[in-house]
């Protein structure tokens, strides 16, 4: 490119015209003037201080603009690094990792481990053991000082015996002060009990509060509280402790060699479950129908197409369109679905109580002033039959498109 300075009349015009929409964007920095020299517009430098005096900050810390100060963005706060170089002892945490990410239960467990490792200025390290894939992007803020990651292909399926042996070897080598596992149905409860049986140690289950010397555990299937002395293996409940939030941690990867064993159990994969056979209380995706539905066969067909568990409001059940065990609400089932689609349900208080724990609620209704629309994250106003038919067609088209070899984007099935 030649060094000849070329005027850009349009840019200059925009620079002169303060009302031009591009004026702000173009006038911020130093420009070459007509003679080729750099020209800085001094009027644009700095900002007006609180008492009306112009301030110029040359430290480079503040981001000023010609019009004044741009409110500081919530900058990515860099948390202080909690560094453990020589650990006095270890607290081992075996993570659940649902769909390769830390669960909130995992984070609570790590929070408790961090607390136990640093109690009374102790210098312990939290050693997390992860089995299988790990896709967590906020790993360093979870409170993991050391990480042992078993990621060979056999860990991608259910192999609790192998995991138990690995954990047993880790415990034997490092002699941790405590071993913490989430007492969950995602595998933590099972693994912890296996490990305790193998180590021959007494386990504290359902721990929900830890003081210096004592544990508070749920006993008798949740009916009693047991106060007992501290143990080595703890199976902790959710919200037993606040998760780590004020420090970053090293997440230093420790190598560890596995000894492969002969598994006496073989994972043969998940079965495809009929959505209507799933208990309504634990269904993840519910399509629920109410008084506003005119075409029940279309509703059932839509539920089948979407793969949703069917629910109903009290009116639909009373009118005999749906069986009693499908009723959602105070006198029916309290549901915990991730997505709940309410079709033609205006939203009686009793029904709203039943869906209080749902993450996302979609309302399909003809009345835009009903309570369900106020609660819903997304509301479609119109004739329910038409919307359901459209939705069905759209989903079928989407599925057909997915199977197409050239535009297939597979959504985690």
């Amino acid at each position: 490119m030649s060094d000849i300075f070329r005027r850009d009349p349009r840019a200059q015009w925009i620079g002169r015209n303060r009302l031009h929409p591009l004026h702000q964007a173009n006038s911020g920095e130093a420009k070459k003037g007509p003679s080729g020299l750099l020209r800085k517009n001094l009027h644009n430098i700095g900002f007006m201080g609180p008492n009306g005096i112009k301030r110029v900050d040359r430290s480079g810390d503040s981001n000023t603009s010609p019009l004044g100060r741009i409110s500081a963005k919530p900058a990515d706060l860099i948390l202080p690094l909690h560094q453990i170089d020589e650990a006095d002892f270890y607290i081992v945490v075996a993570l659940d990792l649902v769909s390769a990410r830390l669960t909130s239960h995992d984070r609570d467990t790590l929070g408790l481990a961090h607390q136990l490792a640093n109690n009374n200025n102790a210098k312990g390290a939290v050693l997390a053991v992860a089995f299988g894939e790990l896709k967590e992007d906020k790993l360093e803020t979870a409170g993991i000082d050391r990480l042992i990651h078993f990621d060979s292909s056999e860990y991608h399926s259910y192999n609790p015996e192998q995991r138990c042996v690995d954990l047993y070897n880790i415990v034997n080598e490092l002699q941790p002060k405590h071993i913490l596992l989430p007492d969950s149905i995602h595998g933590g409860g099972d693994l912890g009990r296996r490990l305790a049986a193998r180590l021959g140690q007494r386990v504290a289950c359902g721990v929900w509060k830890v003081t210096d010397e004592h544990l508070l555990c749920r006993g008798a299937a949740g009916k009693t509280d047991i106060i007992r002395p501290m143990t080595t293996i703890l199976l902790v409940l959710e919200e037993c402790c606040e998760p780590v939030s004020e420090t970053r941690h090293q997440s230093q990867l420790l190598p560890f060699h596995t000894t492969t064993i002969n598994n006496s159990m073989l994972d043969q994969g998940n079965l495809s479950v009929d959505p209507n056979a799933v208990n309504l209380a634990e269904a993840g995706f519910i399509l629920s129908g109410g008084n506003g539905i005119k075409d029940w066969p279309a509703f059932h067909l839509t539920a089948k197409t979407l793969g949703a568990t069917e629910g109903a409001s009290r009116v639909a059940v009373d009118d005999g369109y749906m069986p009693r065990d499908r009723q959602v609400g105070a006198s029916g089932t309290w549901v915990t679905a991730k997505v709940y689609i309410a079709v033609g349900i205006s939203g009686a208080v009793q029904h709203m109580q039943g869906i209080a724990q749902c993450d996302k609620v979609v309302a399909i209704n003809s009345d835009d002033k009903c309570d369900m629309v106020k609660r819903a994250d997304l509301s479609a106003i119109g004739d329910s039959t038409a919307i359901l038919n459209d939705l069905r067609n759209l989903v079928q088209q989407h599925r057909a498109g997915q199977n197409h070899p050239y535009e297939g984007v597979n959504h985690g099935q």
Partner: protein
């Protein structure tokens, strides 16, 4: 689920371990829900040859009443190993099973009374050196010649996993297994309670150090604002909650598109 291709070997021996349950609200003794499901599962596989075993204090009216309820499900007899309360029954049961090891031992996931740690099946599995499968809902097939069985395991959100496991094994039966049959009075009266005295048992001394109260309500987690500066604290105190109202769409085409988008983003479709 897979009844048509179910292959259940005939000469399979199944043992169930049962306990005395406790109603969560009234506290009355009852059939433990998961143990009753274990019996139901066992009865479906081997109706006439199901062994049922109870280890615990048996010579009181409450326990006998509940054990009669179990008998009413169609069991011929229940073997009772009579040990006092607060006994570690692992060694007692080990002694029983080391004499004749059954192919399958079924039990509930956890007891409804006491510590209810759910450790007993794991300890038995470890001591007997056999595999354990947790929270099963169904035994799909048993192949005694090949020496393995296929079971369905309960996962969260009503999902099921098929696991092939070597015989003999211990399985804990989940609450989502098929509901137990009712107890019939005639059966309960006809059934036999065979009490076996046990002199050598291990008292669980550790439990005597514990304090047991009725469960407190757990405090709800508070949303703590961790603001470093006054401006942040001010913002946290005054800021309105974002996204109070959802999106309302009147156009049918657009709304179905939005719903589809949401279903995709939630990983459902």
């Amino acid at each position: 689920m897979a009844n048509d291709n179910m292959t259940i070997a005939q000469n399979i021996s199944i043992s169930t371990l049962i306990s005395i349950g406790e109603h969560p609200l009234s506290g009355r003794p009852r059939r433990a829900e998961q143990d009753a499901r274990a019996i139901e599962l066992g009865l479906k596989l081997a109706a006439d040859k199901l062994d049922s075993l109870y280890a615990g204090p048996a010579l009181n009216t409450e326990a006998t009443g509940v054990l009669r309820d179990y008998l009413g499900m169609g069991l011929g007899q229940i073997q009772i190993i009579d040990v006092p309360e607060y006994t570690d029954v692992t060694s007692t049961l080990l002694e029983h099973f080391s004499a004749n090891k059954p192919d399958i031992i079924l039990t509930g996931v956890q007891a409804e009374k006491g510590e209810s740690s759910g450790m007993l099946p794991y300890l038995l599995a470890e001591q007997l050196n056999i595999p354990i499968v947790a929270s099963i809902t169904e035994i799909v097939s048993i192949d005694k010649q090949a020496g393995h069985a296929e079971v369905l395991q309960a996962l969260p959100r009503g999902q099921r996993r098929k696991v092939k496991v070597n015989l003999p094994f211990i399985a804990t039966v989940d609450i989502s297994a098929p509901a137990p049959r009712q107890s019939a009075y005639g059966c309960a009266m006809r059934g036999e309670l065979v009490v076996k005295q046990c002199d050598a048992y291990h008292k669980d001394f550790e439990q005597s150090k514990w304090h047991v109260n009725s469960a407190q309500k757990r405090p709800k987690r508070l949303k703590v604002v961790k603001a470093k500066t006054a401006a942040d604290r001010f913002k946290a105190a005054t800021a309105k909650v974002q996204g109070g109202a959802g999106k309302v769409i009147y156009d049918s085409k657009e709304s179905t598109q939005e719903i589809l988008k949401m279903l995709i983003s939630e990983g459902i479709i």
